[in-house]
């Protein structure tokens, strides 16, 4: 009845329907405008930082553009870096819907990559690519899922804080990797860097035709869409979001909160583990300490910037992948240390979190009609 009345009202007054829509559009634009504003403000603050050091902010951003997006070569380089960021950001975004803050995605990436590299060792001599790669992928998914799933188990059944436990597990994952790669599973034919046996050029995942970007990017984008549908269009996602909104209410309604937490964490870990698989099977060709490249930590920022929305993660990951890709160029041309990018990322993160305080307080985004 109410809807009918509303529909009549709109029919009678076509002008009000357009203003109504504009009004709604303006209010929802807050979720796009605010993060963008936060990025701009952090960019300005970083410019001040550079000026204080006697460096030119203009040069800096020109180099970021040149090194990250300006040419087809640099754009492809950025996309290669964006792929693992998409996976590790998903590792933050999915549990975040349940109100869990997981920051140990790097650990699941390392462990997933290690699992893929380790399971390949006995298979390399005989297995064709069509068997080897799926088994490696499965191992990495399983490794990551168990790793972060364990965080979810601890959280639900023992009340262990997931933020701290996931970071501790990152250090433990690094120890496991080093223990095996420098010990039992080390490839003796490689004298330089301790690594597992290379899977061989023929077995590696190729690039998307016509580019230098491996297939991980496409898989990441597809995964983002699938997880978006899971979190927004299924009962599982609905229950997860209720749990994130109000744990007690979810429990009172009889939702299986523990199961939701563990499954979400396992999905998240599988995503990050998959990033490790692609690093091994498409970039390095073997598992070694190069897996610890900080993608997991940048992924936290990506997810927060995307407001934990899987679809938004893709463009944000490309942006941050580009900034990271330009790091080398900035280091050479401006004589700045490689940690410059870390400072910029940290600044972005802080400004973004502070921008939360302005939601609903800026008059522009408020409803004109007095409705909320």
């Amino acid at each position: 009845m109410v809807d009918m009345a509303k529909a009549d009202h709109i029919k009678d007054n076509p002008e009000s329907s357009t203003t109504d829509m504009l009004d709604r559009l303006r209010r929802s634009s807050e979720f796009v405008v605010m993060p963008v504003l936060a990025l701009i403000v952090s960019g300005l603050l970083f410019s001040l930082f550079l000026l204080a050091l006697g460096k030119s902010p203009y040069d800096f951003y020109a180099l970021v553009w040149k090194g990250g997006f300006g040419s087809s070569f640099s754009l492809q380089n950025s996309l290669v870096r964006a792929a693992p960021l998409i996976f590790t950001a998903l590792c933050v975004a999915i549990p975040a819907r349940l109100g869990l803050v997981i920051i140990g995605g790097e650990g699941a990436l390392v462990l997933g990559g290690f699992a893929a590299g380790a399971i390949a060792i006995p298979m390399i001599p005989w297995a064709p690519t069509a068997i080897l790669l799926p088994v490696m992928a499965l191992a990495s998914l399983l490794g990551g899922a168990l790793w972060i799933g364990f965080v979810g188990v601890l959280r639900h059944y023992r009340g262990v804080n997931e933020t701290i436990s996931s970071l501790l597990l990152f250090y433990i994952a690094v120890s496991i990797l080093n223990f095996f790669v420098e010990g039992a599973l080390r490839d003796p034919s490689d004298p330089n860097k301790p690594s597992t046996m290379p899977i061989g050029k023929d077995n590696m995942i190729g690039n998307i035709p016509g580019t230098d970007v491996h297939w991980g990017l496409i898989v990441g984008i597809v995964l983002c869409i699938l997880l978006y549908l899971l979190m927004n269009r299924t009962t599982f996602g609905f229950a997860a979001r209720i749990t994130g909104g109000n744990l007690r209410a979810a429990q009172a309604q009889g939702l299986p909160v523990g199961k939701l937490m563990v499954i979400s964490c396992a999905i998240a870990g599988a995503c990050a583990g998959f990033a490790g698989f692609f690093e091994v099977a498409a970039i390095h060709g073997k598992a070694n300490a190069s897996l610890i490249a900080g993608y997991g930590f940048t992924g936290i920022l990506v997810s927060f910037l995307a407001r934990h929305n899987p679809l938004v993660i893709v463009p944000v990951a490309i942006l941050l992948g580009g900034i990271a890709a330009s790091g080398g160029l900035i280091q050479r041309r401006m004589d700045l240390p490689d940690a410059t990018v870390l400072v910029l990322q940290g600044l972005m993160f802080i400004v973004l979190l502070v921008s939360e305080t302005f939601y609903g307080r800026l008059p522009f985004f408020r409803s004109k009609g007095g409705k909320t």
């Binding site: 920051i103 940690a339 870390l342 940290g346």
Partner: protein, 307 residues
């Protein structure tokens, strides 16, 4: 080497390690205890620790005075604490998320400014020899104690006594247990938390300077590797009691010394696993000491991490 001598060497090395390695844990956990007692959690102390290590080392290198380095590290830590405390005061800003951001920001800044200090040698903190009475060289070496360790112990006692018995302690505890009650008493909740976070950052910065100026005694990027975060976990284990923090820090120091100790008697197999011992120990302790149902004894009521 007989088994008995080997065991003695390992135990002695762990005892020495407990004294040597525990100081950063002690300072960070005491700082975090104070911050958490006021009802706020600062996960960013890992970043503060790393930045303290860098700034302390740089100051000592330029001025030649390691103690000035300790002071500067503490002040830098207080600045980070002030930033954290100020930002968390804003409505809708989550203290855990800000902590993660500060962790990344502090580490990034430390690496940024610390690049040029990786090579040069800065003057280190002196130590006090308490083992002159003993003939055993290992014991003598173990009792080469850094003044900061003693300061940390005194600080633990003062904090324990102060939180219990002074007006300031009461104010901090009230703020942490119930903000409305504190408000009703006319306490400025945000200011108390800001000051508590600043003091926490100050201690964490000093803990960082110990890393770079005494043990391991030089500035590298992998210097802390999560010690700041372990210290936060340690606070929960110590149930927000400064004296328990002291004991827990010794335990963590001993666990951290296990890997090098075993290596010194020739057991190098599994070296990486023994290096992971502190992390595994932290995790086990968290599993054993947390509970999904009842709230933890001694936990400040306003703390978001235990709710």
């Amino acid at each position: 080497m007989s088994d008995e001598a080997g065991l003695f060497t390992v135990l002695m090395a762990m005892f020495a390690g407990a004294i040597r390695v525990s100081t950063p844990f002690l300072f960070v956990s005491l700082g975090e205890t104070l911050t958490e007692k006021s009802g706020r959690i600062n996960l960013g102390l890992e970043g503060t620790l790393v930045f303290g290590a860098m700034s302390g080392y740089a100051t000592s290198y330029h001025t030649g005075s390691p103690w000035l380095g300790v002071m500067v590290a503490g002040l830098c830590g207080a600045c980070f604490g002030a930033l954290h405390g100020y930002l968390c005061k804003l409505p809708k800003v989550n203290d855990i998320a800000i902590g993660i951001a500060m962790m990344l920001f502090g580490t990034g800044l430390a690496f940024f400014f610390g690049k040029s200090y990786i090579q040069p040698q800065a003057p280190r903190l002196p130590s006090i020899s308490l083992g002159a009475w003993s003939d055993n060289p290992a014991l003598r070496q173990a009792l080469e104690i850094n003044p900061l360790f003693i300061l940390g112990f005194i600080l633990a006692v003062v904090l324990w006594w102060g939180l219990k018995n002074t007006r300031w302690g009461l104010i901090v505890r009230t703020t942490g247990d119930s903000a409305p009650a504190a408000l009703a008493l006319g306490i400025n909740v945000n200011q108390v938390r800001l000051l508590a976070t600043m003091a926490g950052g100050f201690f964490a910065g000093i803990g960082g300077s110990f890393l770079s100026l005494y043990y391991p005694g030089s500035w590298t990027e992998g210097l802390s590797s999560g010690q700041g975060l372990m210290a936060v976990a340690l606070v929960i284990f110590a149930r927000w009691n400064p004296l328990a923090c002291f004991a827990a820090a010794l335990l963590f120091g001993a666990a951290g010394a296990l890997g090098p100790a075993l290596q010194s008697i020739g057991i190098s197999r599994g070296y990486h696993f023994f290096n992971a011992a502190p992390y595994i120990l932290t995790l086990l302790i968290m599993i054993a000491s947390s509970s999904p149902k009842r709230s933890l004894k001694g936990a400040p009521g306003e703390l978001s991490i235990t709710k």
